[in-house]
């Protein structure tokens, strides 16, 4: 038997329904109305698979906890992923596809918060914390350089001294 490669086996739709109906019939949701015309170029083959994985890993599986639809084995996630694949194959862009899922599931569906408005907090705060910390360290280094006393004249704290004493004894024994 000839091995079958992944790219040829795109249409892994969830086994929700095994119906006698002709699947190619134009049934289902009329997504074109809400999505409009595709703004990008239709993808196929390896590129299609790659983009599907990329986008799917950024989209939250609504019924699982924190997993992306790329990782989740649930039926809903698999159905969503196959929709992503269809949209990409039809030439829709990343933004269009995200907007479509956001219409029904809300911002929740984005696994990475959109960097706009209040969400900027989660993107900027860590960087701000890092810069603040750096500033504190620089300040500390500067001020400690100023206070530098020559070696030998430094007066170590008493408890540290006793510790050193003990280390000396230990080493000497």
């Amino acid at each position: 038997m000839k091995p079958i490669h992944v790219a040829l086996l795109l249409l892994l739709t969830a086994s929700i329904v095994v119906s006698s109906l002709d699947a190619r019939e134009d049934l289902g949701v009329d997504s074109a109305t809400s999505m409009g015309q595709p703004n990008g170029t239709p993808l196929e083959g390896f590129e299609l698979e790659q983009r599907t994985e990329e986008l799917s890993s950024l989209m939250r599986c609504p019924v699982c906890q924190g997993l992306s639809i790329a990782d989740s084995p649930t039926l809903l996630a698999q159905a969503m992923k196959s929709e992503v694949r269809q949209f990409l194959a039809a030439g829709y862009t990343e933004a269009q596809i995200f907007d479509y899922f956001e219409q029904s599931y809300g911002e929740f569906v984005r696994l990475e918060p959109k960097a706009e408005g209040f969400n900027l907090v989660v993107w900027i705060a860590p960087v701000a914390a890092l810069l603040l910390g750096l500033a504190l360290i620089v300040h500390r280094l500067r001020s400690s350089k100023k206070e530098t006393t020559p070696i030998g004249e430094a007066t170590p704290v008493d408890d540290l001294d006793s510790y050193r004493q003990r280390v000396k004894q230990e080493v000497g024994s």
Binding site: I4, V6, D71, L111, V121, A125, R140, V157
Partner: protein, 661 residues
């Protein structure tokens, strides 16, 4: 007397013991009375014993299927195998809190016993603080989360059994206790930090025990986090080991801060500086443990692991708020007593690296914390639910981890104290060839991602420095004419902590590299196969042989048999399955994994069609096993650090090398 009554009686005893222990401990701490301290220690033993017996009582109830005890009625089942029944003590909320009580009791008694000498200045306050935490947990167990409540009549003859996910894999038996040992263990350094603040000093009789009591739970956390990742990999079936799930993050937060605290404690020991900072970090470790527990138990975040919403959430939040206020108040009143530091000479070189290490670790902590809490914050502010998931955390974590890897290289290479620019330059330039080697190796092995190439270079550098530093004392001894085994043995016995620390670094480098490789070079395949059909993934040819139905109590399993071949040679059979539990609609897949030293082949069943078609997902991930190996090395290193150093005959020149290193 029924087991319910005995259990509750024992918990009430623990409650009473801790309530008495608090004033006894703090008075003994304030008056430095030896008699008071003896009483505080006795109460600590009593607390430990009450908790132990309470847990034993629950185990008896579980094993004898005494469904008159409410907890047994909610998690027990006659059909559950005996080892699962035993561990169902921590499979559900009430039982897990009882188990926490046991660990806390154990830690309190252990501190009372092990620190009976040499730590007297602080022990009263330390035990007093631990009793406060003990009182809170005893109260939870006695009241709101009482697992010993009598079951309302009629008493059932059988129960539902524990959560199916727990029954799925043996790792789940050891993963939670490890995490609990880590979380609860953080109470000890916290109590010691409170004691130091109350006493207004941090001497060597504080620092050394504190560091060991911080190392111990940190190594438990390390192990717990790794086992959690491993469990997630082996059981959950999505092919990954870390999803930045809120509860995973909750265990990661205290771990990060504990690592930061361990490093700043080194500076404190070496230089007598950073005392207040170390104290703050230690207290943050505990507070983050409590926050993590709160997140896990309260159901406010969406997570795989969280227990259902329960009334103890607000209590935990109240306790967290109480601890935070006490900590801030104590710091405000006493921090100035800890800042009398010597500013001997310029804080350069190595100290600078330590400061940066702390900065990166704390930034990392802050990032994970804000990412975890942001959905709650956004909902409070905007009223909109947002998700902060893996892509966000990965984007933020990668540069921070690269920074840490860089510091792991340059930090240990730098000299302590004052050093000339030339010295520093030389110390930093020597390992450069190793960095180039690492980069070349990464490239030759097919690495093209910038982050992977950078990891290769930084890892090469860090590896060189780590090995160089670790072997320095032994090399000095060799030069003095000692034989190789003696030199190694002596330098190790002289400073096991030093060797341990570099071993930990070694493990971290391995883990970092393995994570970089495994997350960048996965090969993924989704295929729909009829029996007899084959599919190719990476170097493997997978042939689907058929599906078997396996009936077990409480579950039905569809097991696929897949023959694995590589380059025409059979590599055995893998049998991933889909399990349908009676209580759940959505099946839970059990992956089948073939692990080799270079890569893992990971198979999961996505679905099985009516006509017997198999929806198969196959993932080939390189280097996964090295993540676990790296963590095991880290834990081994930590254990070395816990060993006491023993005096060894040392010549002067060797000592010079050792103290400079």
């Amino acid at each position: 007397m029924s087991l319910s009554q005995i259990g509750l009686g024992l918990v009430l005893m623990a409650l009473l013991t801790t309530a008495i222990g608090i004033p006894v401990g703090f008075v003994a701490g304030a008056t430095r009375s030896a008699e008071g301290l003896r009483w505080a220690r006795r109460l600590a033993y009593l607390f430990g014993i009450s908790m132990l017996l309470a847990n034993v009582t629950m185990e008896i109830a579980l094993l004898t299927h005494d469904f008159s005890v409410s907890y047994v009625a909610s998690v027990g089942s006659l059909a559950t195998p005996i080892h699962i029944t035993m561990v169902s003590l921590w499979s559900s909320l009430e039982g897990s809190i009882l188990f926490w009580g046991l660990i806390l009791g154990g830690f309190t008694a252990a501190v009372a016993y092990l620190q009976r000498q040499g730590h007297e200045d602080y022990l009263g306050y330390t035990l007093g603080t631990m009793f406060v935490v003990g009182l809170f947990f005893s109260f939870l167990i006695a009241g709101p989360a009482n697992p010993f409540r009598p079951t309302p009549l009629p008493i059932p003859t059988d129960g539902p059994g524990p959560n199916p996910l727990l029954q799925n894999h043996l790792l789940m038996i050891i993963h939670p206790p490890m995490l609990y040992l880590g979380y609860v263990g953080m109470t000890v350094p916290f109590a010691m930090a409170i004691a130091a603040l109350l006493r207004g000093q941090l001497g060597p009789t504080w620092l050394r025990p504190m560091r060991n009591w911080l190392l111990l739970p940190t190594s438990f956390l390390t192990m717990g986090i790794m086992l959690g990742g491993w469990w997630s990999y082996e059981v959950l079936g999505w092919g990954g080991y870390w999803a930045w799930d809120p509860v995973e993050n909750a265990s990661f937060l205290p771990w990060l801060v504990a690592i930061a605290a361990l490093h700043s404690a080194i500076v404190q020991q070496r230089r007598g500086t950073l005392k207040a900072w170390t104290t703050i970090l230690i207290m943050m470790t505990f507070l983050l443990s409590i926050l993590g527990t709160f997140l896990t138990r309260s159901g406010v975040v969406n997570s795989v692991h969280s227990f259902t919403q329960s009334p103890i959430g607000p209590l935990f939040l109240g306790f967290l708020a109480f601890c935070l206020v006490v900590v801030v108040a104590l710091l405000a009143l006493r921090i100035d007593t800890l800042t009398s530091e010597p500013s001997e000479d310029a804080v350069v070189a190595r100290e600078g690296a330590f400061l940066l290490n702390n900065l990166l670790l704390v930034t990392f902590t802050f990032t994970v914390l804000i990412g975890t809490l942001f959905p709650i914050i956004a909902e409070a502010v905007r009223g909109v639910k947002v998700s902060v998931g893996e892509p966000y955390f990965n984007r933020m974590a990668v540069p921070i981890c690269l920074g840490l890897l860089l510091l792991m290289g340059i930090g240990p290479a730098l000299p302590w104290g004052r050093a000339s620019r030339a010295q520093i330059r030389r110390a930093l330039l020597v390992p450069i060839p190793a960095a180039i080697g690492g980069l070349a190796l990464a490239f030759l092995l097919g690495g093209r991602h910038p982050s992977v190439l950078l990891t290769g270079a930084l890892a090469g550098y860090a590896l060189w420095v780590t090995l160089d530093q670790a072997s320095k004392p032994a090399r000095a001894r060799l030069k003095k004419g000692e034989s190789l085994p003696t030199a190694v043995d002596r330098s190790f016995r002289k400073a096991p902590r030093r060797t341990g620390a570099y071993l930990v670094h070694f493990g971290v480098i391995i883990t970092f590299v393995a994570i970089a490789i495994s997350s960048s070079y996965q090969v993924n395949l989704e295929a729909s196969l009829t029996p007899g059909q084959s599919a190719e993934v990476g170097p493997y040819l997978l042939t689907f042989d058929g599906i078997q139905l396996i009936e077990k109590p409480h579950l039905t399993s569809q097991q696929a048999t897949i023959t694995v071949a590589k380059a025409g040679k059979s590599k055995g059979v893998l049998q991933p399955s889909l399990n349908y539990y009676d209580t759940q609609r959505e099946p839970i897949g059990t992956p089948a994994v073939k692990t080799t030293l270079t890569h893992d082949l990971y198979l999961t069943v996505m679905n099985v069609g009516e006509d017997g078609r198999l929806g198969l997902r196959a993932i080939v991930t390189p280097a996964v096993v090295w993540i676990w190996i790296g963590v095991v090395i880290m834990v081994a290193g930590t254990i070395l650090c816990l060993l006491p150093s023993r005096p060894v005959r040392t010549t002067k020149s060797v000592r010079a090398v050792e103290s400079a290193a």
